[in-house]
Amino acid sequence: MRLISKRILPVELNGGTAVVQDGLAEKGDIVILSVFGSDVSTRSCDDSDPVLTRIQRSDDLYWTMYPDKICYVRKAVVESSLNKQKGTYVAGVAVGEVCNEAEEHAKNILSTIDWKRIAGDSEMLEAVAGCIFHRVLLPVLGFWLVALLFNFFLFSDLDRRVSAMRLSWQESKREAKAEKEATGKQRQMLADYKTMSLPKSSVAIDALASVVPDGIQLTLLSVNSSGFRIKGTAKEVSDITEYSSAVNREFPLLEIVSIDKPTGTSLYQFDFRMMK
């Protein structure tokens, strides 16, 4: 499709009537009128002829100068023929006695119309812009309609997907937070459990029991998170000393909490504590 079309429109004037062939020009076309017929007047060129100048200066006439003559015609007659050709832009008028003569000159005018000339002529530019607007209006609107339809379906699909992904993302974020909290609590539980758990102590207990001298009787042997604790009774302090020395070899951090002899009893009581 051409954005603008330039055409020659033949106009035959006979007896004050203009005849224009239908269908040669469309709305928005730039046309050059090729005017010929019996109503076209001709005058020989002569520099001394004052009528020639008057013809050229007249606003009521269309005229075309040839090397040997000037052909002219009344504007009103020609313009009456254009009522049927509404929407076309007349870029020039070639007047000739016969069809070929006028058409030849019209072709010359037509060849001078290019984009540079259109851009320089605001009226022609407006006509061309209007012509282009009418030609591209429907295709452009159709294109954008299709694009909008495609966009609508694309947007709907994306919106559905993004909504689902947002939900899933929020869910996984919530899960991750819950997982983090649970893991933190589990770590704390594990730490508490390890704090409560005693290391293997049966061998150490056996060692403490095996070095008890004959004069000593143990009343308590306990192990907890603070360490070992031994309580017992003895008839002699020397037995306690001997036992504490033996224990000290196994547990250098031995603390003698008390050694005393309560009133009214014959036995000494002792209390040892060993740190881990």
Binding site: S122, L125, E126, V128, A129, G130, C131, I132, F133, V136, L137, V140, W144, A147, L148, N151, L154, F155, L158, D159, R161, V162, M165, R166, S168, W169, S172, E175, A176, E179, E181, A182, T183, G184, K185, Q186, Q188, M189, L190, D192, Y193, M196, S197, L198, K200, S201, S202, I205, D206, A209, Q217, L218, T219, L220, L221, S222, V223, N224, T233, L267
Partner: protein, 152 residues
């Protein structure tokens, strides 16, 4: 330059309309597509890896089966008391504590302690041998057994 209606209409059709349509609809689709892509990428990157501990859900301290199993054939030790209870529970884990009181001679009781120490998943939290002064050769052993159990 004078602005003619034809040129203006053409400019609106060829320049203005696409700009308006872009701002009104297409830009929203594009931003939605950008969000879709970023969400797709973050979905792959954010796959949560669980760092939870694997802990047995079997509570071995629920009954005194374990103790009876250890004491099988050990006639000199008797069970005075066995009281299991859940001491603490959080984050899908529980610490179960069982108070056990045994009575018997010292060596068999020490063997029981040794056996319990070597039991998987079970720890000892408190060991206490006590003996009243006198001629009685029997010793009382108070034990606190603990286990970390996963909630089902």
């Amino acid at each position: 330059m004078r602005l003619c209606p034809g040129i203006l209409k053409l400019a609106v059709l060829l320049v203005g309309l696409p700009i308006i349509l872009w701002l009104a609809t297409f830009s929203k689709t594009m931003s939605l597509y950008g969000e879709y892509r970023s969400l797709s990428k973050s979905e792959v990157a954010d796959s949560v890896s669980s760092q939870r501990f694997t802990v047995s859900c079997e509570n071995r301290l629920a009954g005194d089966c374990l103790v009876r199993e250890i004491l099988a054939g050990e006639d000199e030790v008797i069970i005075n008391e066995y009281a299991p209870s859940v001491e603490k529970s959080d984050g899908g884990l529980s610490i179960v504590r069982a108070r056990l009181q045994l009575r018997g001679r010292f060596i068999p009781l020490l063997k029981v302690v040794h056996h319990l120490e070597n039991q998987p998943e079970i720890s000892l939290a408190d060991i206490c041998f006590s003996h009243k002064t006198g001629k009685d050769p029997l010793v009382t052993l108070d034990l606190d057994l603990i286990q970390l159990v996963g909630d089902e």
